[in-house]
Symmetry: C2
Subunit: 399 residues, 2 copies
């Protein structure tokens, strides 16, 4: 492949490339590049937003470069004891391991197993002593830290920033030094961190990595970036029907970017036709995503299922089944349980409160009949064979 | 001694006591208190400014409490690799040891050897791992750090603050946790640090230390605080003549505070009489300080020496003697050396440049005769028996 073509392909769809001449020079060099991508193991689902950079990473792999995935296990295990950073819960070793396993499994849907290096940053951060941390912390200034958009916003608005949060970007940057990254990928919100890593590499006598950012895909709400914590995401490992249904809920005006970034590698996206009816475009988009992650034809099947459920109000064909006995210990003396408890036990509601809210909104049905009373109860004896629905897409059936 | 009297004595001359009721309560408790004072081992001279808190510490000792001196050896050995903090040079283990030995020797002039605990903070800081540092750094916020006066000033004026500098106050505060300090003493510029330590102790379930600050003695320039780095200080171990001469140079309007704080423990200070001629008051002050650190009568002797030198322009009686041979390798083919080199070799000037400046200012004399030419040379052969003077108080004689 000609170098000029590589450069064009690798930078297509990117927002920032710092700097493009540096990237061109390294590509011309001929040596396989080490392309870093950091993964936060505090969540376990890979969603379409994160997939944007993963597909970009895959492009590098396809051109003979090495994908270096950094699992931030060390920082996840420290967390933020001040509780000031919502994105820094503290995880146990087991939780990190579980998330890591899930990630590695899901990543195979996008990355090639060849030219793939998965590293955990505990490997080098875990052995640092206080002097190493102090010296690293001397590498940059408070003023530079406060130039980062989110810190600036929080500081200006009086929202607490723990001093620890100033150390995390330095540790993340140190990862680049340790794996000798040639390129680092990230969403546009990572640009500042990626540039800090460049500085650390230069101070260590390394050529600074090229920072390449991809756009942040907006979530299903059409407003905020897609993220696990906001619950506005589509996971790449979610079942076809779930993916299809969720994608049908995005606002019409977000379709062009979903076409471009959510359907796979930039450049292979189906064309978005603004003259086509919106619902048709959205169905085609949803089919394309489902096909991408579940194989050709899976999109059409999910669409048929979607139509059967939403048009006929029939229950879908693959409703999860539950055993009545699983509710036995929640029954009162008369063998009755509250509907709100039933919703929690079957996973249709996240809490009793959530269940009551669903009932109040008229979103809970038993065999198609809405439940009107938030305090309604039902006898265990009459449950077998009943089908329960919460909202549009959650179902349960009792054996 | 009655507790009320103790409280009054201990808080006399203090600027901040946070809080006085807490101090009263601990004194009433009857248990000997642990009174912390941190020492920065990056300098080795104890000056009259630092002596103010040492005398306060002595008062605690005299009332049966324990002085806990913390030698900041760990932080001194890390220093500030960014070079952004002028007060944080990096020292070797040997340098720290040398300073520590000098300190401990000088401190005996003020503190009692009983009820004295000297600790090095490397004992607990040196073994901290990265997780400990991260957790500690999560204990406070960036906003709180920027409330510290000097950080606020530097941040506002665009003067760089390294992120490391945010960690040092936390480490200093951790010292209080580790030695379970009941009270910490410091200059008023330490108040913020002392209060941060209170917070850390509370988070660790300890009763927070009482922060007690003493005023910062102004330096000989009458403007800035007395400090080693500004060169405006009188060391408690300096020779009597040096102390006397330096003290005679303080501005008249600073005398009241020197009377109150520079002559020993607050409460034992000689009274300052505003109606007395200023020069008389200053002589009495200088005598009192010399007596305090060199024994009764030493002040009068220093005064007599001072008068002999300054009134008669004779050389003083204890001029340091030098060997002509020490200049041999600086001589030219004719056996002559530059006067500026001679000044450096005898310690009368800090550099050749400094020596030339002194000559230019007419401050250099050979046997009382001013040297006019900055490039003047002198033959080694004629040196024995000559006396050299630079400025008012520096002398050298050749054997």
């Amino acid at each position: 492949v000609a170098q000029g073509g590589d450069l064009e392909q690798l930078t297509s769809g990117a927002v920032d490339v710092v700097t493009e001449p540096e990237l061109a020079e390294r590509l011309a060099n001929g040596r396989p590049l080490r392309v870093k991508l950091g993964i936060d193991p505090t969540a376990s689902d890979i969603h379409l937003g994160f997939a944007v950079v993963l597909w970009k990473l895959r492009q590098f792999q396809d051109l003979g470069h090495t994908a270096v995935l950094i699992l931030g296990d060390f920082t996840a295990q420290v967390g933020d004891p001040s509780g000031r950073s919502a994105t820094r819960p503290r995880l146990t070793r087991d939780e990190v391991d579980a998330h890591a396993a899930t990630y590695v499994e899901q990543i195979q849907q996008i990355l090639s197993p060849e030219r793939l290096e998965v590293r955990r940053n505990s490997e080098w951060l875990g052995t640092m002593g206080i002097e190493d941390v102090l010296r690293l912390s001397a590498r940059t200034t408070v003023a530079r830290m406060l130039e980062r958009d989110d810190f600036d916003t929080r500081y200006s608005s009086g929202t607490p920033i723990s001093v620890m949060e100033f150390l995390y970007p330095l540790l993340q940057g140190w990862d680049s030094v340790m794996v000798q990254a040639d390129v680092e990928l990230g969403g546009t919100d990572q640009l500042w961190n990626l540039l800090l890593a460049r500085q650390l590499q230069q101070q260590e006598g390394q050529a600074p990595q090229v920072a390449l950012t991809a756009p942040l895909l907006v979530g299903l709400d059409g407003e905020q970036k897609m993220s696990k914590s906001l619950g506005n995401y589509v996971g790449i490992a979610e079942p076809p029907a779930e993916q299809f249904g969720k994608l049908m809920s995005i606002p019409d005006d977000r379709m062009p970017e979903y076409y471009r970034y959510a359907t796979g590698p930039v450049g292979e996206a189906p064309a978005f036709d603004a003259d086509r009816p919106a619902v048709e475009s959205k169905r085609a988009l949803a089919r394309a995503v489902v096909d991408r992650y579940h194989g050709a034809g899976a999109g059409e099947a999910a669409e048929a299922e979607f139509d059967r459920v939403f048009k006929s109000h029939d229950s879908p064909s693959d409703v999860p089944e539950h055993d009545v006995q699983s509710l036995a210990d929640q029954a009162d003396g008369d063998g009755r349980v509250r509907v709100s408890s039933l919703l929690v036990a079957t996973g249709l509601a996240s809490s009793g409160k959530d269940g009551k809210r669903l009932i109040e909104q008229g979103g809970v049905r038993r065999d198609g009949e809405p439940i009107a009373d938030v305090d309604a109860t039902v006898s265990l004896a009459e449950l077998p064979g009943t089908t329960w629905q919460a909202g549009k897409r959650r179902w349960a059936r009792f054996r």
